[in-house]
Amino acid sequence: MLEDLQEKLQRALKRVTGQGRLTQSNISDTLREIRRVLLDADVNYKVAKQFIEDVKEKALGKEVITSVTPGQLITKIIYDELVKLLGNTGAELKLNPSGITTIMLIGLQGCGKTTFSAKLAKYLKDRKRNVLLVAADVYRPAAIQQLKILGSQINIPVFSIDDCKNPVEIASESLLYAKENGLNTVVIDTAGRLHVDEEMMNEAAAIKAKVKPTETLFVVDSMTGQDAVNSAKAFHEKVEFDGVVATKLDGDSRGGCVLSIKAVVDRPIKFTSLGEKLESIEKFYPDRLASRILGKGDVISLVEKAQSQIEEKEAEELEKKLMSNNFDFNDFLKQIKMIKKMGSLKSLIGMIPGINSAIKNADIDDKQLVKVESIIQSMTKGERQNPKILNGNRRKRIARGSGNSIQDVNRLIKQFEEMRRMMKMFSSKAGKTGMLNLKNFRYN
């Protein structure tokens, strides 16, 4: 009961000091800090500002549970929103099941298009596609030669036209070549170009108009700074792209430019590229990049702390539910699932505020949970909601279905009813909370 009192005092104190809910003032320091973290990670100034504004608006007024600070909670919310913003469902590469799939790569000079086209070609070849690489960079010295060498390393044919200075022609010819040679996937490497170079941008648009790619991917060097939004926007306006590829993530750049691009041009990030080995291509993981942008150190540990505290709060909610009269087998099952998600039963009980120490020290066997779970899972919906209907036949069926003996099933139902009765008793005595009497559920 002492812990319970402490808990209530803490809550009252929070309310008095204004820490009970997220407010402008109790999160402003943290937000300023996070804004700086984002800017240091090369997130565009405007994007960082807008992102923080949006999150703040959503978060203001949220209740802060007793054991976390408003700063911790808002950091956790920012992290979650960051993952949400970076992530995009269906970010798979679009591949035509029949006919030719064409993938065109575009980007600034030196962002890693040629290396990536070889990686992508290999990735697709490993997935049983018949791939053709197309060398359409007619400007950079030896770019075609580079792609040819890479192609030979991975045993993928490279299409090029000697002395042809017209990438539109090369690209369109390559499609005919692919058709004639039974190749169903064409990866086109284009020249690096500056987004302010109108002539070159028109050329990229012309290639796209001619070959009508299944996917156009914008390749960006993850070390890019504030200007990333300008180039991405300009490329998107002129040569609409379907997805983004972030390269050189094997370095130690924080990759904030990827977030900026995602924010200004809402296109999914489809791949990350992490090295010069042609195998080092990966699908994009939003949570990894979010951690990277926020920095691996302090901020993330703050997020983790908040996470664990929030789970503690969930446990508390559960306890409340236990005290209500409507507790049925569905709730029970939910409870078990949550317990399993959170770790061992013993550590969970230790986390519940206000639980008495006798129970904390009790010997609890986690394996029993599995048994209980299997029995409940063999019940029908109606049986779970209304345990009263559990007659002999039903019990027999449940025992068979769950692989337990009929005695096991009987014992669980009996104990469940006993628990419900006890909870009713507790909740009728107003204020007596905190007695999650799991001891009754020792199942042996």
């Binding site: 070390m223 504030q226 130690d252 904030g256």
Partner: protein
């Protein structure tokens, strides 16, 4: 000593002006007509500086300085802010040597060109070779990127384009390529040797060790060789460029920076941070893909180009 006669300042200006949102337009747009500099204006100033990749720490420092300096002025207008900012930004370059070239007294003079992947090393070498050849030097380029596919061929095209000999062989170890090339340079009386190295991320230990080995080989072939190590940085890079400069500097002493791709819309503000923190001079800037698109870095003009 001005070696480069082809400086076309207009081109740099045009390059920097290509962005519709250049520094001054932004400032004018945001705070013209305001008599006082309040917090709001300062925040806008902050946006402009950070959006140029100047970085949070230096931006804060600059704004603090302006805050301090502005109190003694009665008429706090846009021109004043511009002038104050200009002076503060210029100060960053003040104590750093702005000499682009060390005069070549003993030869061969060796340039070791280093940087991360895709920063523009090979293109810079082509341009440097062109410039040195133009003023009458005997120039050789060395293909010591033994790693990337067709790197040799790329340098070879440049060598042909600007008409200088290239040294290359089939060795897989770049140090051995460098060794052999310097022997020839010594014996055949070359004035300038430009060594192209593989792009490497500063986080790759084995590649950084390789660079260290190249560096020591140079000293072995020609003890006390007159040499400059130039780190090539992409103007579009963000804050990571500072770490790049720092890490490369640990392995080989960096004598200067080359800032490439300044013909895009990136402001190259990262340069200010590196100069302010690391005191490494900026030697050249790249403003295009043509062999004439290399210019001396001149701090005043560089900042002016951002302003005018």
């Amino acid at each position: 000593m001005k070696l480069f006669k082809n400086i076309n300042f207009e081109k740099l200006k045009n390059g920097l002006n290509k962005s519709r949102e250049n520094l001054v337009n932004k400032i004018s747009e945001k705070i013209s007509g305001k008599a006082n500099l309040d917090e709001n204006e300062l925040e806008k100033l902050e946006e402009i500086l950070i959006s140029s990749d100047i970085g949070v720490p230096l931006t804060e420092k600059l704004i603090d300085e302006i805050k301090k300096k502005i109190v003694i002025h009665k008429e706090r207008n846009i021109t004043l802010i511009r002038n104050l900012l200009f002076t503060e930004m210029l100060k960053i370059f003040k104590n750093i040597s702005t000499e682009n070239f060390t005069s070549i007294n003993s030869k061969p003079f060796i340039y070791l060109i280093i940087g991360v992947n895709g920063s523009g090393k090979t293109t810079t070498i082509g341009k440097l070779a062109y410039n040195y050849k133009t003023i009458g030097n005997k120039v050789m380029v060395v293909a010591a990127d033994t790693f990337r596919a067709a790197a040799n061929e790329q340098l070879e095209v440049w060598a042909k384009r600007v008409d200088v000999p290239i040294f290359k062989n089939d060795a897989k170890d770049p140090s051995s390529v460098v060794y052999d090339s310097l022997e020839i340079a010594k014996n055949e009386n070359y004035d300038v040797v430009l060594i192209d190295t593989a792009g490497r991320l500063h986080t790759k230990k084995d590649l950084m060790d390789e660079l260290s080995k190249i560096n020591s080989v140079i000293g072995k072939v020609i003890p006390h060789a007159p040499k400059e190590t130039l780190l090539v940085l992409d103007a579009t890079s963000g804050q990571n460029a500072i770490i790049q400069a720092q890490e490369f500097n640990k392995i080989v002493n960096i004598d200067g920076l080359v800032i490439t791709k300044l013909d895009g819309s990136a402001k190259g503000g990262i340069v200010l941070q590196i100069s302010s923190e690391k005191k490494i001079p900026i030697k050249f800037i790249g403003v295009g893909e043509h062999h004439t698109d290399l210019q001396n870095f001149e701090a005043e003009q560089f900042i002016k180009a951002m302003f005018d």
